[in-house]
């Protein structure tokens, strides 16, 4: 079971080459949280169009007849789904399961996952990028924002790690 995953350095090189091709072809880095946001924006736009047009936040995504679903970041996120699925199929990892420490209940794990996702994407919207969009891509173009965001994410995760120890170990 030791070599279940690709060697981390090789996987890192692969990921680095994907990032490099994004920079080379499209002149931009990778991003994930943005895609989620565009999904939300398009749902809100479909459900309550007048609200979306009034809001200072949503309105900029509908300017000039833009469609938030046909956007670079949204398509990229659909690509991530496809790519993850292909990789899972190749390496035979396609199973429905809840991954957690045996010490906690399923409900607790799922609740925390939900809250965690909420926090993460909220923070990512504030910082204008998540681990991929700000930290990873930012570092690859030597942007100060990338380094600062990276240190803030990992620094605070280390700080909070002590409180959530039980959930993981």
């Amino acid at each position: 079971m030791k070599n279940k995953y690709m060697n981390p350095y090789l996987a890192g090189t692969l990921l680095g080459l994907v990032l490099l091709s994004a920079m080379y072809i499209a002149g931009r880095g990778l991003g994930a949280s943005g895609g989620l946001k565009y999904c939300v924006v398009s749902v809100v736009g479909a459900l309550d169009k007048p609200h979306a047009e009034r809001s200072t936040y949503y309105s900029k995504y509908f300017e000039g007849g833009q469609k938030p679903l046909t956007n670079w970041l949204t398509l990229e996120i659909f690509g991530v789904l496809a790519g993850g699925f292909i990789s899972g199929a190749v390496s035979k990892r396609l199973t429905f399961k809840i991954e957690k420490s045996p010490k906690i209940s399923n409900t607790r794990r799922l609740t925390l996952a939900f809250i965690g996702g909420m926090f993460f994407v909220y923070g990512a919207q504030l910082a204008r990028g998540c681990t991929s969009g700000a930290a990873l891509s930012g570092m690859a173009v030597l942007s100060v924002a990338g380094f600062v965001t990276m240190m803030a994410i990992f620094g605070s995760a280390y700080l909070f790690a002590w409180f959530f120890r039980k959930n993981w170990i």
Binding site: F78, F120, V144, I169
Partner: protein, 200 residues
Amino acid sequence: MGPFTSISGFPAWLDLLIAFIIGTGFGFALEQAGFSSSRKLVGMFYGYDTTVIKVFFTASIVALVGSQFLSYFGLLNLNLVFVNEYYVTAAIVGGVIMGAGFIMGGFCPGTGVSALSIGKIDALFYVLGGLTGAFLFAETYPLIQHLADNAYRGPVKINEVLGLTPGLFTLLLIAAAVIMFWLAELAEKKFARPDITNQI
């Protein structure tokens, strides 16, 4: 010469196809690295599995080194590659919130989606939470707009701040990463938790 989309102005459908293909590569690499497993990801914060730091730094350094060589060979115009804009307060506060979300949820958005694709139910809840987070952000945007736009510094590059050439800074970053990789392997031995690592 790259980047092609900003220079040649590809048609929209091709642009989106490229986005999808790059996303596919992104998801594939994340899943292969084992980032579809939350316990593997958070292992970094308890020391028993340091894959995150290895993959993360290898990837950004490979892209950094590659882009600089491409630029030297005249194949890539680095001035046309997006550089993240630095909003000091937002980057720090946002980063801290993300860190908290990371340790609670066990994923970051990219890895969450990648884990969802192979059927992790916790990842499904994580992504749903993420969508809620984006919704909450949009609704509370007027309240935190000031915080988000505070202390804007523009797209500054770290080597310019430090007064180094990009090449020299890259070398220093690589040296730091190599030391980190070495420490990471030591940590994996010291904090080894075979009971967990065998499961994931």
